[in-house]
Assembly symmetry: C3
Homo-oligomer: 399 residues x 3
């Protein structure tokens, strides 16, 4: 088997991504297009090396700290996989679901858990205005700790999902598209429909639709956001998507018709989320400890949801896409009609037909996370990747 | 200190175990006798190397996923130890005690946790007809994921206890016997009494007695299963034991007398378990969410148990064994009369006399698990073991 | 960058610490002064190597078992960091908060979790007369297991906080002082005030004040213990502190005035704790399962506490210290007036001024734990440290 990492490192040579070194990863739209491309190149390179049984351990020891505000099998395993790929051991910080630490408490805890931490991965998507802000507080705290000589190294912060963006998801989704369409340059002009879909549950985070419209507009795609009236996402991210479309030669539009969004689409991403305004309201209710208010809001939202059961990705709708063969995407788990619920986001036959590609889509996430860490921690990523290949230490000595 | 792994690898040269490569380990009776012997040889070899401070890490990185349906300190640590011995990091999947996933959910979860997984260890012994079936579903899912290019490697599945068998326990038990009797060939004709014993608790799994009668009959032993009427084990496994006895030149019998089983025995294994029929009933009650039914069944079983308090491994009974000196075995923890409960499975003085051998028995389990993984993941186990010895990388550099 | 570990190993050459090899670490006053100095030298050496990106992994594989009786982010991360620094993987044993195992159960569990364990770290500080005793039981059990051939290696036991001492905290505190005052010899004659302080909570462990007076008196310091009447610590440790003062040329006194303790102090350590007698009582109540008694005791203690709100480390009190500039210390987290509570142990402005040094103080703990393990597991620490430097394996290959 020929193994040549140069096909990926050659791409790196043409990109300027030096600002990522010793940086953090909060939002995709804070990164330049070349920096995003560097993440894809490194992710592909790491996957290539591992596939060829070449170790990608750049750490002999070190910790990857994780902080998840709610249960998360998928993201937890993706993060653990990324850390393991690079030689880091995961140490979980369990602060509890409800407790929102802030101010000096954050600063103190961040320092206390980071003595040997090379990375901190945080998932905190429950409260509007809190998750991303918390991550930045942690990042500032450990940077200060490093400057003060408390920490021997500055851990890099990776956003594993916040109230604004879900960069490891959207980047994995895009790498999937790059592979499906045969290259990043082929995304230009492709139509992607990021649409709301009905789910019997409520309150699903906005970070996926926001992350998708904020990222896909970077590559000149024709991005349509579709949802019933009232299910608006964060205004700020709409602005990001519009600006991107202008700057990168793509399109961005919003519609209240699922059918319109699907018409001629190359890619569809139907998924439930909660209205931004409702989530803002919920955050305030939680802040006030208003349990009755939270229950009332939940009832109201479920009632509203129930009016839009027709927002389902059916075979009929799929027929309206480009050649009837748009690529169906989802961050998983999906609410599948007749399987995981009575009525859901997607028809069982559609989901079943795309099961293979969906799992492939998910499989990019560990490599995307590892690439984000790699670019933040490695001084000369091109050289280090080529050296890993040259050294060719077997990941698994028994084959 | 002379260290020569050849004493173990020479055994391997004479055995045919090639079908274990890239396989799984569900039930001992699905493996050939030579395959079982290969597990013992590799387990001994790994222990020998570690004892001589030689690293047995064949993985530079990689994950060992664990899934335990109930609390399990011993098995958890044995599995973690086995993974560590080979260089894998353990990542726990906590699906909760009660939730029995099935169908496509299993397929999806199995894929999502396996991107970097070389092994998946599952303990699922609570529900009749479910545990082993679930393991096979997971194994099929990850094999499919590997074929589809979703997983870079196919994780091997190790049964850490199911509703049918407990192969890592029974194999560790047998390796203990091999060491106690000075060789696998010396097991032939030895009498082992696998007997029920009284415990104040109820509902203990059947996997140990079933595993023992299913395995010990493979080596030409004289296996007697003893229990009060009504405490029958799975019919299917009785069939396995009978067939084995015929095929491998041993004996298998069932009796309702503990004394008869003990008479002249070389080995005794007194342990509580629940009647198979009752466990089947309980599984159905759980399936229907029938809490009242479960409570009624529990009461009934405890009443029935209480009639058999005389099924205790006492000094008197031990005197009836071969020379009064049968080897006492248990998977631990045991219910010890006057120590852990008022009346239990074994008299305190008997247990105390065998404490050393009991802990030794348990100490084989990590090596058995590691050997199962090794044979599934290593292409040429003989060469790899010899190379580990030649390389002689110190496990602990400070001695 | 010059990197020379000899500055630390040269210190080791002059010390006799050979008895630490294959030993455990229970109480600082069981160790000779030279042994304590060896811990500091090794801790500094390990930190020096890591700072210079040199791997300090002496273990290629192996487990560090942890057992925490209550939640503990800080100690948990310090222990995990120490294990990671040396190449060990942490495996947590979760026995539950309330359950106090004893006797043969301890012996059995200790053996079952230690097949691959090189270290066992225990935090068990809740019950008077239990924590330290439990640790010794575990240490005896694994020593026996090793002798019996059950365990291939004897794990070393590290006391991560017990009812009597908190050696990893007090040793980290002292290493901080050594760095602040420019050498261990400069501690002689320095005055340290270990004083009680008000906290709205009750029942904080005595191990910190006891650990501090038991250790700081070893270096010829002038140690003053201050607390309101009734807040006496363990009589036995008072005896240790007095003996130390006599033997090592320092002073030890007890006062009921915070101001007196602060007067002219070089170092102040104001911290809440519960009266020893009350903790003894509470242990008995827990033993009897007397919930009402526990609640009554809690109320009584909180009432008593409330009488001493003036025991706060204020700016006024700080002015009474040597030049108004005593080093403020705390094991963290502190109860800060107006920040974490209405009235607490320390004024916000005092705490804020010392935030940098406080975090630095905490940063020594992982290295202290690692040094304790290192000295127990490495035959020739001086050689091994110098060899690590010579080999110069990069901890992080990407820089």
């Amino acid at each position: 088997m020929t193994c040549n990492v140069r096909q990926f490192t050659n791409v790196l040579s043409k990109l300027n991504y030096s600002a990522m070194y010793e940086g953090d990863f909060f939002l995709t739209w804070e990164k330049s297009r070349e920096e995003l491309e560097a993440v894809f190149a490194v992710a592909d390179a790491l996957r290539h090396l591992r596939k060829n049984n070449i170790s990608t351990r750049i750490f002999d020891s070190g910790l990857g700290v994780s902080l998840f505000r709610d249960n998360s099998t998928r993201t937890r395993f993706s993060y653990a996989s990324a850390c393991n790929l690079l030689g880091l051991n995961v140490q979980d910080l369990d602060e509890g679901k409800s407790q929102i630490a802030h101010g000096e408490t954050v600063r103190e805890t961040a320092s206390m858990i980071s003595f040997m931490a090379d990375v901190i991965g945080i998932r905190d998507d429950m409260y509007i205005g809190k998750g991303n802000a918390y991550m930045r507080e942690v990042a500032r705290a450990v940077a200060a700790g490093h400057n003060d000589g408390v920490l021997e190294q500055k851990p890099t912060l990776v956003n594993l999902q916040c109230d604004i963006d879900h960069p490891t998801q959207s980047m994995a989704d895009m790498l999937h598209l790059i592979h499906e369409f045969g290259g990043i340059e082929n995304l230009k002009g492709k139509k992607i429909a990021m649409t709301w879909a009905y789910s019997p549950s409520y309150g699903k985070p906005l970070s996926v639709p926001q992350g998708i419209i904020g990222l896909m507009t970077r590559m000149g795609m024709d991005v349509v956001l579709a949802h019933p009236e009232g299910y608006e996402v964060m205004e700020e991210v709409i602005g990001v998507a519009k600006d991107n479309a202008g700057q990168f030669g793509g399109k961005f539009g919003v519609t209240n018709s699922m059918g319109e969004a699907f018409a001629g689409a190359d890619v569809v991403y139907p998924k439930s989320w909660a209205p931004f305004k409702a989530m803002e309201k919920r955050t305030a209710l939680y802040g006030n400890g208003d349990g009755a208010g939270i229950n009332a809001l939940e009832k109201e939202l479920l009632n509203e949801n129930a009016k839009h059961k027709d927002w389902e990705c059916t075979e009929e709708l799929m027929k309206r896409t480009k050649g009837g063969k748009a690529l169906y995407m989802h961050c998983l788990p999906a609410d599948i009609t007749g399987i995981s619920c009575k009525r859901g986001e997607v028809a069982a036959s559609v989901f079943e037909r795309y099961r293979g590609p969906l799992y492939k889509e998910a499989s990019f996430k560990p490599y995307i996370i590892a690439a984000m860490i790699f670019l933040a921690k490695v001084k000369n990523p091109k050289n280090t990747l080529e050296e890993l290949e040259r050294a060719a230490i077997k990941r698994h000595a028994g084959v």
